[in-house]
Each structure stands twice: as C-alpha cells, then as structure tokens.
Symmetry: C2
C-alpha cells in the first residue's frame, strides 16, 4: 500500500488520468443505464438542443471513478466511500472528447469512532481537450491510517 | 409527451422500477469503471470488511438512473440534468439483491431566464428486498413547461 490517510495533504491537486470517449461507448453505456434520446439516438440527438449525441452524466462520473482508481486508489488503503456531493455536469461530453481528470484534497477528517481510519474529502474535475470543465464532484473516501 | 414541468407535484413519491443484480453484472461494471478489489475480486472481497463482492456505488446510481428513465423520464419532456447532490451509499449492494427505486418530488423551480422550462428537484431512494435503504440521492431535472 503506497498511500494512507496521512498521505492526503489538503490543497494537493494532481492529474489522475485521461480518457478519450467514442460514440460506441457513449451509446453502449446509455443503452444500459440512461437511454434518453440525446444519449442513444444520433438522429434524435441532432434534433435536440444538444445538437448531437452526448454522454450520460453518469458515464462521465464512472470514467472519473476509473481514473481515480488507476491514478491512486488502487495503491491506496481505501475502504470505500459513504457518498458524493455536488456533482455538476457543466458542459456536454461528445464523441471524440479527451477528458483529463484532476483530484484535489479539500479536507481530511480522522474518524471520531474508529482509530484506524479517516475520511478524505476531495474535488474531482473533468476537463475536455479545449480546457472546458465538463464535470465537477466532491467525493468522500474512507482511508486507513498508516499502521504504527 | 406525458409529463411536463407542471406535472411535478411537490411531495409525490412513486416507485419507478426495480432490478435484481447478479455478480456477473457487478463485476463487469466494476472492471470497466471501478476495479477496486471489493468490487471485482471475490476472494479479496471475502477477506475485506465487506465480506464479499459489493456493487460499485456508481453502478447503483446508474441502475437508479435506468429506473428513472423507464419509470417516467422516457415519457417526459426532460431536457437533461445540471447535477446531483448528496449521494449517500448507505448499505452494501450484494449479488442477488433486488433493488426497488422510489422518486419523490422535493421542489419545483420555474426558470428565471427561460420561460419554456423549469427545474424539478427530486429525491431518489434505492431499497433492497429487506427494506434497507442502500442509496439516496437528490437530483435536478430540467423539464419543459406544458405548451400553451
């Protein structure tokens, strides 16, 4: 394990990964989980006010999660998450977009009841290739404290 | 279109759908989007404090979204969502669990800038077959107003 609760430093911002989305995966995700016309139907999407297929916001969140896991959670003493606050889908994600994900540590809270862990609160942002912020969210991660 | 902004009545709670999750889909989702050991690796999960494979919280959110689309959004004048607040993963979701999804209208806000639409704020809950609340979230949906 490389990272424990103690390694989360408030204010640290780092890139955790990037991903280029294609239309096939946008439509595949949305057919299973969010089959609204502007996510799954190119013709209907072209007529909508989005002007073309856009990714489900949940797909963007899921891609951010994957970046967080690959970027550091896979090598961290992470114990899961009690939740996420303030997800904002700020800009459409379209086929061909390359998203880069950043994570910033906002707050660290040692557990009041369990001496072996704490909560790390972090802001995750997704930016596209033009620098548009397409999504932000504030997540909580339970992490083990470094063993004595 | 069956449902417009005007049809969202504060306080209305309704069941929007249900879904039984199996281990194959839990692992498939998590391998793509959230490959932490307690989501993808049965042996590692058995050793974790979860005691077995549990669904990614994002998977539960995605299943809730699918229920919302099938339950009413597909027949509503929905224009997408600016975001979601206060997602809380309150109880593990395990293979074989049957989740039932409920949606309650909390608040309706006519748009200040665009006369043809408004925002509906709703609470979505997922309960398992034992009545445990496994997930709650508060989402925003843009909806068209009923044409005059």
């Amino acid at each position: 394990m490389k990272e424990y609760f103690e390694d989360a430093v408030v204010g640290r911002r780092r890139e955790v990964g990037h991903h280029t989305v294609n239309e096939e995966e946008i439509v595949r995700f949305a057919r299973e989980f969010d089959p609204q016309p502007f996510h799954v139907d190119a013709a209907a999407a072209a007529q909508s006010f989005y002007g073309g297929v856009i990714a489900s916001g949940w797909h963007t969140c899921a891609l951010a999660m994957r970046a967080l896991v690959d970027g550091f959670l896979a090598d961290a003493a992470a114990l899961g998450s009690p939740g996420v606050d303030e997800i904002r889908w700020r800009h459409p994600v379209r086929p061909g977009d390359t998203l880069t994900f950043y994570n910033t540590v906002l707050e660290v809270r040692p557990s009041a009841s369990k001496a072996d862990r704490g909560i790390v609160i972090g802001e995750t942002e997704a930016l596209n290739q033009n620098g548009d912020v397409v999504m932000t969210m504030r997540g909580m991660t339970m992490m083990r404290r470094r063993p004595a």
